[in-house]
């Protein structure tokens, strides 16, 4: 079993301003499920894109089954026996399964033969799928099966799967794992990208962990705990931040055992979240994506109403108050998704200012919008937060991600909130803009506001937070002062509720 299928030697890829992969080396054995683990932005995607021929490495080489391997395009990779299932499917909803599969093949067989082959493969690997169904009627899990079968029909030697379980229900995950184990038993190697630690522990034989583009270690997932892997992901570069004067002001926002059902099939339910945030304090909430971050923000912004008696603002129960009433009271929020959630893409910056500031900034009187005042407000935000744009009349979608982020975060800060809840304030933003946004959050706290910053960037949370908690499957760990934290404790908190129990015994 010790035969090496793919050997990656010193792959390096730099983009302007960031080294996505820095001298990454590891090996994938034949018939092995190899995990590629890392936080968002650790360089996982760039690495697999190089293996699949979508991106050309700057330096380094790959060896596939003893021969040099340098795919210039995905079809080269496919010919060499490397197939990939993307996180986002590329399927035509109006076509049926067989037609979709045919479109992705180099030389598709006749429709009837293809349908037979699809049926065979789907039976062999326990992936129930009817070739004549229209893709538009399929669930996300079934659509993924279409992609997998498309790959399997080409008899790949290496199958790359990019966060395959992020769209699946628990039952579908089980089916997928069975399929992957069967493929493995037939000698196919699988490169499995994920940041879900428990999954990797149940499925994978080996794991390579990336952090900031570097390979920081390899381990055998079954032999280590989820906590240890989380620590490797977070990295030893983590420095204990200087102790900050922790807020001792009054409690401005409090959640008391806040529980809410999942908003949709792929959402996360919130489970008994209790937290407090005081005037002048920044509460950082970490955790891996998809563990309830979005849901927590929607519960606090008022987009989804919480059960009575679970959210208190300055001592008053606001659980059943909508976004407008919460804003009036002084509780503002900034969602993660810039386009379509925090801002309407086709509307101007002025209009997007009215979106949240209509009442607090008195841009509306007797129901009529004062466009002069609204433009003035937009200009203030643009000026104060250095948003690069021709003017407030520009459509939101015309701005770069970083500039729009500065605008939507600045829009809330400019309204002087008492409590500001923000999700991923610097996601996809360049370093300079990110620093400016963090500084603005700190300045806001210094003026006596309470801030809840939900983020997947641990360095960011350590830099700006006074206290820290982590979300795991919709549960929030007990929050602790950042000054008491060390790398091991953070690993514990991110590792989830089960590990926390152990921590209590220890501590």
């Amino acid at each position: 079993m010790a035969d090496t299928l793919l050997s990656i030697r010193g792959l390096t890829k730099a983009y302007p301003g960031v080294v996505a992969n820095d001298d990454v080396s590891f090996e994938i054995q034949k018939g092995e499920i190899h995990a590629l683990l890392g936080e968002n932005g650790a360089g996982k995607s760039t690495l697999v894109k190089m293996i699949f021929g979508l991106v050309k490495p700057d330096r380094g080489e790959m060896v596939l089954d003893g021969g040099a391997y340098a795919p210039a395009k995905p079809s080269d990779a496919r010919r060499a026996g490397v197939a990939m299932v993307f996180q986002h499917f590329s399927l035509f909803e109006a076509l049926d399964v067989a037609e979709n599969v045919a479109l992705g093949m180099e030389n598709p067989p006749k429709p009837r033969d293809l349908a037979r082959q699809i049926r065979e493969v789907s039976e062999t690997y326990g992936l129930p799928l009817d070739p004549s169904r229209t893709v538009g009627t399929l669930s996300a899990g079934e659509r993924q099966r279409v992609e997998i079968i498309r790959c399997l029909l080409q008899n790949p030697r290496l199958l790359i799967m990019d966060e395959p379980t992020s769209v699946l229900t628990p039952q579908e995950v089980e089916i997928l794992f069975e399929t992957l184990r069967k493929l493995k038993s037939e000698g196919t190697s699988i490169l499995y990208i994920s940041h879900k630690l428990e999954e990797i522990r149940t499925l994978c034989d080996e794991a390579t962990i990336l952090r900031l583009g570097k390979n920081v270690g390899t381990c055998t997932p079954r032999e280590v705990t989820a906590r240890q892997m989380a620590e490797m992901m977070v990295g030893a570069s983590f420095a204990t931040p200087e102790a900050r004067a922790t807020g001792t002001g009054e409690v401005l926002l409090k959640c008391d055992a806040l529980s809410m059902p999942a908003p949709g099939a792929f959402g996360t339910p919130l489970r008994e979240i209790s937290l407090e945030v005081r005037a002048g304090e920044v509460l950082g909430i970490g955790g891996v994506a998809g563990n309830g971050q979005d849901e927590l923000l929607m519960a606090l912004s008022g987009e989804r109403l919480a059960p009575k008696g679970s959210i208190f603002f300055k001592g008053e129960d606001i659980s059943r108050a909508g976004p407008v009433a919460r804003r009036d009271a002084g509780l503002l929020s900034g969602p993660e998704e810039r386009l379509g959630h925090a801002a309407a893409p086709n509307m101007s910056l002025t209009e997007n200012g009215v979106l949240t500031a209509a009442r607090r900034k008195a841009l509306v009187s007797n129901g009529f919008i004062d466009w002069g005042k609204a433009t003035g407000f937009a200009e203030e935000v643009i000026k104060r937060f250095d948003v690069r744009t021709p003017g407030p009349g520009t459509a939101a979608r015309a701005l770069s991600g970083g500039n729009l982020q500065k605008y939507v975060v600045g829009r809330e800060i400019q309204q002087d909130p008492d409590v500001f809840v923000v999700n991923q304030p610097t996601w996809g933003v360049d370093a300079a803009a990110a620093a400016a946004i963090r500084q603005a959050l700190l300045d806001l706290a210094a003026k006596g506001a309470a801030i809840i910053c939900i983020s997947q960037d641990l360095d960011e949370l350590m830099e700006i937070s006074d206290r820290f908690g982590a979300l795991n499957e919709g549960r929030l760990s007990p929050t602790r002062a950042v000054s008491e934290l060390d790398i091991e404790k953070i690993g514990l908190m991110m590792g989830g509720a089960h590990d926390m129990e152990v921590a209590h015994v220890d501590g």
Binding site: H341, A343, N346, M347, V354, G367, F368
Partner: protein, 361 residues
């Protein structure tokens, strides 16, 4: 090779230019179609667009018809455009128009032969309420059970047509009408007859209401926070919820406005140009108004112009059938082309065309 490239923001120039381009293209392709039918194309186009207004013989009759036809089209289209801006697709304005006419007429006839000056305003309110109530059916089904308002509102058109048939043949039938279907004729009842306000202009109360609706809709959409919320819901539903807009209220508001305006249009029509509830009262205004709303770019003043243009093709179309013997279907095709070319040229509002050399694969 031609490539479409998305513009960073919608082009203001093209937003205004596409309706004109669509009209020109319709004239060209329509002309080709008329030529293929063996009719002189230029003459046909002239008959449709020019003669109704300026023909020495017919213009005196057809010119007032312009406002008579444009009035209901504009009134209904304004209501529809409010909903379309929010992504709420009321396709059943025809049904709301019919029900508005029936309820308004029924309320009026209940007081026959009253000469009170309050009766006509009461009938207008009843017509608006009738249309509103008919539109509330798809609205409530959508907000309660998540049904599709397109299907429900469209199906209700056929229900409304049956109600109209039963009203004209039984419960609203003229008791002095020797058993013929159809209600009393409002033209013979001066207190409620919606006559021309200025002789030979076609200007009746419905046209006045349409003009008020144009201005009202402009103020609502451009200045009022509810109009802003409606546009926001159409542009980005999640952002609207984040802003605090209640989607249920928007559905009720939009369908309510479009239903009430369509119902009002029906009332003005039945008490004016049509004169009575009859089986063939439904004339397709409710459907044509959809074209008018889009042709006018969902902009109130655009709808005003589009309504006039569409009315012109109606009158001109009839004239062309009469004068040149063009088949009625070809006129409908001609009107359909207008919407088709509008939607087709619309792509230039959000995209620009790039001519690029063939790239090496």
């Amino acid at each position: 090779m031609i490539r479409l490239e998305k513009r960073p923001q919608p082009s203001k120039l093209w937003t205004g230019l596409t309706p004109l381009l669509a009209v020109v293209l319709t004239m060209i392709v329509g002309g080709i179609m008329f030529a293929a039918l063996g009719k002189p194309p230029l003459e046909a186009i002239r008959t449709i667009f020019w003669d109704p207004l300026f023909h020495p013989q017919f213009a005196s009759y057809s010119r007032p018809q312009l406002l008579v036809k444009a009035g209901p089209l504009i009134l209904i289209a304004i209501g529809l455009s409010v909903g379309f801006r929010a992504g709420i697709w009321n396709i059943g304005a025809e049904g709301q128009y019919i029900i508005g006419a029936v309820t308004g007429a029924a309320v009026g006839l209940a007081f026959y032969p009253s000469e009170s000056v309050l009766l006509f305003p009461l009938m207008v309110v009843a017509g608006a309420l009738g249309g509103w109530a008919w539109a509330m059916i798809p609205a409530l089904l959508k907000t309660r059970f998540g049904t599709n308002e397109i299907l429900v509102s469209l199906m209700l058109v056929y229900v409304a047509e049956n109600i109209l048939a039963s009203a004209s043949s039984s419960w609203l039938r003229n008791p002095e009408g020797q058993g013929f279907p159809g209600s009393r004729n409002f033209k013979q009842w001066p207190a409620v007859f919606n006559d021309e306000l200025i002789a030979n202009t076609g200007m009746h109360w419905g046209v006045v209401a349409a003009l008020i609706a144009v201005i009202g809709a402009y103020v609502l959409m451009a200045r009022h926070i509810q109009g802003f919320n409606i546009r926001l819901t159409g542009e980005a539903p999640r952002a609207a919820r984040f802003s605090g807009v209640n989607p249920v209220r928007i559905v009720l508001l939009c369908l309510g406005i479009s239903g009430a305006l369509a119902g009002m249009a029906g009332l003005f029509e039945v008490t004016g140009p049509a004169g009575q509830i009859s089986i063939d009262f439904g004339s397709g205004y409710g459907f044509t108004a959809i074209i008018v709303a889009f042709l006018g770019r969902l902009n109130p003043f655009g709808i005003l112009l589009a309504g006039l243009l569409m009315a012109l093709t109606y009158i001109g179309g009839e004239l062309a059938q009469l004068m040149l013997g063009l088949p009625g279907a070809s006129i409908q095709l001609f009107q359909g082309m207008l919407l088709f070319f509008l939607l087709a040229t619309d792509v230039f509002t959000n995209y620009r065309i790039r001519f690029v050399g063939r790239e090496v694969a």
